[in-house]
């Protein structure tokens, strides 16, 4: 199936990656090539074949219902990005992460 520039923009939106007009054009040609490669799969009859979702047939282990993690908030927050929009302060306050306001 041939992709269009509009498809690229839609996928990029779903993936939350901003693309400019020129990037979308360049991406279209590269993705078209890759999807051409992927298209080879359609020639295979896979009727009745059970999908293989993992490299090993595994069953999820259950662990004991006890606390195993310790609070490392301060250590983790040292990696917080800068707030941005003119501020070079870390995007944290009172142990929380700062993001743009989403609820009025």
């Amino acid at each position: 199936m041939a992709l269009s520039i509009e498809d690229i923009k839609k996928i990029a939106h779903l993936a939350r990656i901003e693309v400019s007009e020129s990037e979308a054009t360049a991406t279209l040609s590269k993705l078209t090539g890759i999807l051409g490669l992927i298209e080879q799969m359609q020639a295979v009859d896979t009727t009745g074949i059970v999908p293989m979702s993992h490299a090993q047939e595994l069953h999820q282990r259950l662990r004991d219902d006890v606390v195993t993690k310790t609070n490392q908030r301060e250590a983790f927050q040292k990696n917080a990005p800068m707030l941005g929009n003119g501020s070079t302060q870390p995007a944290v306050a009172g142990g929380l992460y700062l993001v743009p306001k989403v609820i009025e």
Binding site: I11, E18, K30, G33, M41, T46, I49, P51, F76
Partner: protein, 495 residues
């Protein structure tokens, strides 16, 4: 000394002929001299490294040394190491200081090994040439015009240039074996689930597996003894008894140590697409195996060609999900200017990821999007089973499978950078083992003359049945007892 095996280094350290500080310093001196041109390391921290060496010397003095105590290793920058810059080759994580250790790092720490630094890699392990790294490409130590392969290109170059005693890598579609092949090393991708993925930055979780990259099979076995083992923090870690991966290597030597071994040669690995000079080297290596007593069996892995299309559905699908965590909120790159939350995500991810990573996220998003799931993702999972079944059938006829690890020797930097599909075809002989979850390794088998350049290393691939690493390591080790390709060193002054 820089060409010594891990066993030799261990005995020198334990006999106190050299201290770990001295040994570490000699590698650091080589790194200072050669890393600016090779670019194998992203992060170095001499103070941390030497502190570990000092602690190792104290441990040796106290008589509590293990084989790897005091030995300087390089760690792929995909492993979180507490207090170390851990970037995964990406601008997204350029300022990330890992707050905890990956399981593999913990294992090496407990063994008393010394961490020399974090090695360069393709961004988020997506690439076959190390050219997608935000921190620049890596030179192949055999020829600086050529790529070292990828994604574990920095680890491969560091081992080849003797800028470390051995290194770690990870392999999602060939990222240990292809660079090992292109740089003339021995590298092993274990069976899926043998080495914990805890603290290893995720690319495609059903395929990612860590393993050693070293000068010889013997060194790889010693590394595996430390790296492998059950870890409850990785839900896919397998609960198996601890293994000694060196056990087969130490058997008494005979003239035909591999008598009775059945080696399967898949016809698809020698078909069109394989460079004639590489095929020649592999044929000669197989002849060595015949002299060692092995028997050759012609086999077929009919779905080999489909492994690339299947992989480029499954790996991007998993990657698009795994990499959705990079949103600019809690860590990683956040755009300097943004209007609202969506704009912050869009810009942070657009700026933080490089072109190849974005391409794979977009492919993954597309194949998982509404209406396409059955045609792509489900179809790929079904063919994945056909590929795995090919191997199950093949192993009814043989003990190990051999062939080339890569279709050609190292290519020139820039040659495939604008053609993703040509780059993807580099992994034609390696990807199917990841899809099946099987162990695979590459070992140096000689050199082939490039069309317009120097003689470059060729890797022989060995694929084993599930959990057959110890036998594979011995099969490689016996070859290395009668050949010396693994001991060849590049001349860095002429590369």
């Amino acid at each position: 000394m820089i060409n010594s095996s891990l066993k030799q280094l261990a005995s020198m350290l334990q006999a106190k002929k050299i201290s770990s500080v001295e040994l570490t310093q000699s590698f650091l001196t080589r790194i200072t001299q050669y890393n600016p041109s090779i670019n194998a390391y992203i992060a170095l921290d001499e103070a941390k490294t030497l502190a570990q060496a000092k602690a190792a010397d104290a441990r040796i003095a106290a008589g509590h040394a293990t084989v790897l105590t005091g030995i300087p290793l390089a760690q792929k920058d995909i492993f979180c190491a507490q207090g170390w810059q851990t970037t995964c080759g990406s601008k997204m994580l350029a300022n990330f200081i890992a707050p905890y250790d990956a399981h593999v790092i913990t294992q090496f720490d407990q063994a008393g090994a010394v961490n020399l630094g974090k090695t360069n890699m393709d961004e988020f392990a997506m690439g076959s040439s190390n050219e997608t790294s935000y921190f620049g490409g890596v030179k192949n130590p055999w020829s600086f015009d050529h790529v070292p392969g990828g994604s574990s290109g920095g680890s491969a170059a560091a081992v080849a240039a003797r800028l470390c005693a051995a290194a770690t890598g990870t392999d999602t579609g060939g990222s240990i074996r292809q660079p090992a092949s292109l740089c003339g090393l021995t590298g092993l991708k274990p069976s899926y689930g043998v080495v914990s993925r805890y603290g290893m930055i995720a690319f495609a979780s059903s395929l990612d597996q860590a393993g050693p990259m070293a000068k010889s099979a013997e060194d790889c076995a010693l590394m595996m003894n430390v790296m492998a083992g059950f870890d409850e923090r990785d839900s896919t870690s397998l609960q198996r008894d601890k293994e000694d991966y060196s056990r087969e290597l130490n058997k008494p030597q005979t003239d035909q140590p591999l008598l009775g071994l059945k080696i399967g040669l898949p016809k698809e690995f020698f078909a069109e697409g394989l460079d004639a000079s590489v095929a020649q080297v592999i044929t000669v290596a197989i002849d060595v195996y015949k002299k060692l007593g092995a028997q050759i069996v012609d086999i077929s892995l009919p779905n080999t060609g489909l492994s690339i299309p299947v992989y480029y559905v499954l790996a991007p699908a998993e990657a698009s999900s795994n990499l959705s965590r990079y949103d600019g909120v809690r860590y990683g790159h956040r755009a300097a200017e943004y209007t609202d939350l969506n704009d912050m995500y869009n810009k942070s991810r657009a700026e933080g990821f490089g072109a190849e990573v974005k391409r794979r996220i977009l492919i993954g998003t597309y194949v998982l999007s509404a209406g396409y799931y059955d045609a792509y993702y489900l179809k790929a999972q079904q063919i994945r089973r056909l590929i795995a079944q090919d191997f199950i059938e093949a192993f009814k006829q043989c003990d190990v499978i051999m062939g080339p690890a890569a279709p050609s020797t190292a290519f020139k930097a820039g040659e495939k950078v604008d053609d993703p599909v040509a780059m993807y075809l580099q992994d034609i002989y390696t990807i199917s083992t990841n899809l099946a979850g099987l162990p695979g390794m590459s070992l140096p088998a000689g050199f082939a003359q490039a069309k317009d350049g120097p003689a470059l290393p060729v890797g022989l691939q060995i694929i084993g049945n599930y959990f057959d690493e110890a036998r594979m390591l011995n099969v490689a080790h016996q070859y290395q007892q009668v050949t010396d390709w693994h001991q060849q060193m590049p001349d860095l002054k002429r590369a």
